[in-house]
């Protein structure tokens, strides 16, 4: 029986106090005296989705901030075998690169001590700062061999697209470490979240984030990142997936006409994307089994799709209810854990 794997759980940093034990004296003093409070750059609304509203909150702190509570829902109630933590604490929002790097390291150490040590069924993403690619590389290397880390994590929005040359050493290191790089909803703090300025509504931001994901994939292909690092795997987290077929068609058509501009892109863009990119499924865009299965058909299969609940912001009451009725069991099992088991070598 394939493992039931939740590929997107948010470990929530309730406040900077949580990270103080993991900071050096210098940064501890700085954080305490300045009162800095990094945002959650995913900018979720105050309330949880309806399915999650009964989620018990810890006595102190926010939903999602304590491993023991998360474990109860994920492992006891839902019978999840493995849960992958993608912490969206806003390291990328800190303009001070050294502070950002220190906070990222603190988040990772906190995850090790207060999540991975609490339950062996947790895995975590290495949160890396994105102000300076060298700092991201350093943190990746610091954590890559520590047990329990299964991928690196960057926010999907950034100042410049991640395919840019300054990021290539980072992606090379990730590929060599056999760690996927996850691009997760969030980031781009201080920059408009759409391609035409600042939207009004959270609804718009969540629509626009699919564009950010697509822009990153365009960049990773055109800058040759997938070509140079054939073992690199990228996971698009919480940005949808139903947009991928139309992107592939458009991208391939344009590449045929414009490939002289990027001669290092030797194959059809769709080949790189279908081989080297995984995507989490929730919040689910295709609401019916027909639409979901048609999308899977357009992608040539379901093998790159990963169920991720977005705990504590889950919109389905259980993994069994995560996909509409009518999805064949074989497909459901792949989505609910078979694909993740292979990707993360669980």
């Amino acid at each position: 029986m394939p493992k039931l794997v939740d590929a997107n759980v948010h470990a929530v940093v309730a406040s900077e106090t949580v990270l103080l034990p993991y900071l050096s004296a210098h940064w501890r003093d700085y954080v305490t005296s300045s009162g800095v409070r990094a945002p959650d750059t995913a900018a979720y609304p105050r309330s949880l989705p309806p399915a999650a509203r009964a989620e018990p909150a810890p006595e102190a702190g926010l939903p999602g901030s304590r491993a023991e509570h998360a474990a109860r829902t994920l492992f006891d109630n839902w019978s999840v075998d493995v849960a992958v933590l993608n912490c969206q604490y806003g390291v990328s929002a800190i303009h001070n690169a050294d502070l950002a790097a220190a906070l990222a390291a603190a988040v990772n150490d906190w995850q090790v001590e207060e999540w991975l040590a609490v339950d062996p069924r947790f895995r975590a993403a290495i949160v890396v700062p994105n102000q300076e690619p060298e700092d991201a590389l350093r943190e990746l290397e610091r954590c890559a061999t520590r047990t329990g880390f299964v991928q690196a994590l960057l926010p999907v929005r950034s100042e410049t697209p991640y395919g840019k040359r300054r990021w290539h050493r980072f992606f090379e290191a990730a590929a060599e470490s056999e760690l996927p790089v996850a691009l997760c909803l969030g980031g781009g703090y201080g920059m408009p979240t759409s391609s035409s300025g600042w939207p009004s509504f959270i609804s718009e931001e969540h629509v626009d984030v699919s564009q950010a994901a697509q822009s990153q994939l365009l960049s990773l292909v055109t800058e040759g990142v997938f070509e140079r690092f054939p073992r690199l795997r990228v996971v698009i987290v919480e940005c949808g997936f139903a947009w991928l077929p139309s992107l592939l068609w458009r991208f391939d058509k344009n590449w045929k006409a414009l490939r002289n501009e990027v001669p290092w892109v030797k194959r059809l863009p769709s080949e790189y994307l279908l081989e080297q990119v995984w995507l989490t499924t929730h919040p689910l865009e295709p609401a019916t089994a027909t639409d979901l299965l048609d999308t899977i058909d357009m992608l040539g299969g379901a093998d790159k799709l990963l169920w991720g609940s977005n705990y504590p912001r889950y919109d389905a009451p259980s993994p069994q209810a995560a996909f509409p009725p009518g999805v064949p069991d074989a497909v459901r099992h792949e989505l609910l854990g078979g694909n993740a088991t292979r990707l993360y070598q669980l």
């Binding site: 391609s195 699919s210 949808g240 139903a242 414009l258 501009e261």
Partner: protein, 362 residues
Amino acid sequence: MTETLVATGARRRTRPAVIDCDIHNTVPAPAALLPYLPREWHDYEREIGSRIYHGYLYPKLAPNAARRDAWPPTGGPPGSNLPFLREQLLDLYDIELGVLNCLHDGYRQMNGRYSAVLTAAVNDWQVAEWLDPEPRLRASIVIPVQDAEAAAGEIRRCARDPRFVQVLTAIRVHEPLGKPRYWPIYAAAAECGLPFAIHYGVAVANPPTATGWPSYYLEEHTGAALAVQTHVASLIFEGVFQRFPTLNVALVEGGFAWLPSLMWRLDRYWQEYRVELPWVDRPPSEIIRERVKVTTQPIEEPPDPRHFWKVLEQLGSDDMLMFATDYPHWDFDAPGQALPNGLSRELERKILADNARAFYRF
């Protein structure tokens, strides 16, 4: 009707009628607008001239992003010469009607006052040098989009001429187009019975994506549809279609295969965040099917033709697509070649002409 008698040299058209919803007429040079520019602005044009928001510089496949054979033999850039455009497009493909979308820099001047006079000059130039001599052409009103009141005035001025069939903006404006600052534009368009067209266009003040500036034209061009989606979401969620119940919108030169998945996404978030969108009274996908049309070019070409049919089915309406060539650009779609084989005759007629006929009330 599948056949239309065309009084062009008494030839009888036996193919389905074609209405081209995206033709780019080009101002040959700044001097060409001087006869239409108020005298008091001539010094400004000569000494300062065009100042557009910078940052957008992506060498295209070819100069002017045009087909290499579209440079008029008598001079001027592609799209600037009416007789040559007739020869290469209107006559060659027997186009019944063509909608001009002039992408002149007037709309994206840093100097908003200059935007207003330039766009008015372009509209007058269009009347004199395109609409008057060529009865098969219709035009879009170009507007100083960042100044909604001035734009509204220009719309009302030009709308007196029924050969202006829509209001045009390029994407990547300062803010998502649903924002209330742009509403005077929609009020004027709706009042004048004109649709609002959003066209793939060039950067104004913002990077083309929420992840910064792409390096390559391939990257930027492929991402162009993404920017259109920002505006669809904004128009829907800001309640523009409720506030202006007669306003229709055309999405031009962004392709369309992404539209079903966008509709799913919009529906999903409309359901979850209803509390911030109380004026959106029905699912976004329904609103889109009723009020939004999309031009076909650049038409997507999935390797498995079944998927093309599936997208059409997922659109949920035969009335949404309107054929466009995008003459004279390099990714020009020729009538008779662009649409896949296997379309029913009825659907082919709709896409090639009837949907546009209904939308523009030709």
